[in-house]
């Protein structure tokens, strides 16, 4: 069994942002030469998310609006203090909690060289505390 792992860098531009990464994931799968197995996509950050939904701008706005309402900016959070290990004020509890709600990874089966997805499924890297320079991982595992 082969494992091919890519660390993909991405510059986000907004505080909250859904970025369609489907095309890039498909390119990496194609280039891997692996025909059957599994494709994993995961974010390396706790204030981002990876999610799947229909690739429509209105739904992107709805998702961003919903997580903002579910985890409001001005609620009371314990994560609101100086963090010596970073040398920064840790004041981004809403970003962490929004990430926890959306999740940090997705996977798809790989069959006959094609990623098995629903016709409307789009993979999003979700920035929740941007703008930042971020990394997500695509691992293609199989034969």
């Amino acid at each position: 069994m082969k494992s091919i792992l890519h660390r993909v860098k991405i510059q986000t531009r907004h505080e909250t942002e859904l970025i369609n990464i489907t095309g890039h994931v498909l390119e990496l799968v194609k280039a891997s030469g692996i025909k059957n197995g599994t494709v994993f996509v995961l974010s390396l950050h706790t204030t981002t998310a990876i999610t799947v939904n229909e690739g429509l701008p209105d739904l992107e706005k709805d998702i961003a609006n919903l997580i903002g309402k579910l985890v409001p900016e001005n609620a009371i959070y314990n994560h609101a203090r100086y963090l010596p290990s970073d040398g920064q004020m840790a004041i981004n509890a809403p970003s962490h909690l929004r990430g926890a709600l959306l999740g940090f990874q997705v996977f798809f089966p790989l069959e006959d060289g094609k990623m098995v997805t629903g016709s409307r499924q789009t993979i999003y890297f979700v920035e929740l505390d941007g703008p930042q320079y971020r990394t997500y991982v695509v691992q293609i595992l199989g034969e």
Partner: protein, 284 residues
């Protein structure tokens, strides 16, 4: 908006090309978040609605054998974008410090002086090492921003940054604008007194010791100082500063805008007062 208090310590282009800077940012400044491309700084400003940022370096040659971003590096950044205003820093313990200020202004194009008594280990009331620098500021017609109050830097001593230590210098150099950073927390009342009394004293809003920016700004400006005092006596004496990247600009802007200040005072704090002190011709 103008952010009067930013540290260019998280910029990958600088850190990757200067191993000593990387070390001093970690060991002396106590900042450990991974560096990000310069573009991130500008995008953060965009997202926060900040047009202009004042970059503050720190020369700790005597105290810690390092510069936490040199004056030359600040100039490099300023040359990349008109959105940065560069301040210089010199080591007050070095005899040529006043000459260095002059060189930074005349040859590097820097527009103010940053001093941090806590981290540079000097007495800001000293007639031997501090007064010549204030004199240089007077002759060059530039402001001086002094760290006041608690320092997050591991070795930074707060006792050197008590605002009342500055009162005699403030009197002795009436043409120099003194900006007392962090509202001098926890010595907020003393700093407020200085700003109310002396025309040449200003306070920056980079107050954050616990809670969110909204919490800290509400606690200090609304409860300790009082919004009535801000509106009546400090509306033209406060400049907006975040202490980025120790704090993110976006949340700090929202925290300030959530205070319920009058539009005139809010505008003065967010840009008008800084614009006047920095003599900016364009209005960010």
């Amino acid at each position: 908006m103008i952010d009067f208090h930013t540290h260019p310590v998280m910029i990958k282009e600088l850190v990757n090309s200067d191993a000593d800077l990387d070390r001093s940012i970690h060991e002396v400044f106590g900042f450990h978040f991974p560096a990000q491309p310069l573009e991130c700084f500008l995008l953060e400003m965009d997202e926060a609605g900040v047009e202009t940022a004042v970059l503050l370096p720190l020369d700790c040659t005597t105290a810690h054998a390092c510069r936490i971003v040199s004056n030359e590096q600040v100039t490099e950044l300023v040359e990349k974008t008109p959105r940065f205003v560069g301040f210089c820093s010199v080591d007050p313990n070095q005899p040529d410090a006043p000459v260095e200020v002059e060189r930074a202004v005349h040859h590097l194009g820097l527009r103010g002086l940053k001093l941090d008594p806590s981290l540079q280990c000097f007495d800001p009331a000293s007639q031997e090492c501090a007064y010549p620098l204030y004199q240089a500021c007077a002759e060059l017609d530039i402001p001086v921003l002094l760290h006041c109050g608690m320092s997050w830097a591991p070795s930074g001593l707060a006792e050197l940054a008590q605002p009342l230590r500055l009162e005699k210098a403030i009197q002795a150099f009436p043409t120099v604008n003194f900006i007392l950073a962090h509202f001098a927390w926890p010595w907020v009342q003393e700093a407020t007194m200085l700003a109310v009394k002396y025309p040449n004293v200003f306070l920056d809003t980079a107050i954050l010791y616990s809670g969110t920016p909204r919490d800290a700004l509400t606690r200090v400006l609304a409860r300790q100082v009082g919004l009535d005092t801000v509106e009546c006596s400090l509306y033209n004496k406060i400049v907006f500063g975040t202490n980025y990247p120790r704090v993110d600009m976006r949340r700090f802007v929202r925290g300030l805008q959530g205070l319920g200040l009058s539009p005139t005072t809010e505008q003065a704090i967010l840009s008008g007062n800084a614009s006047r002190i920095l003599k900016l011709t364009r209005q960010p």
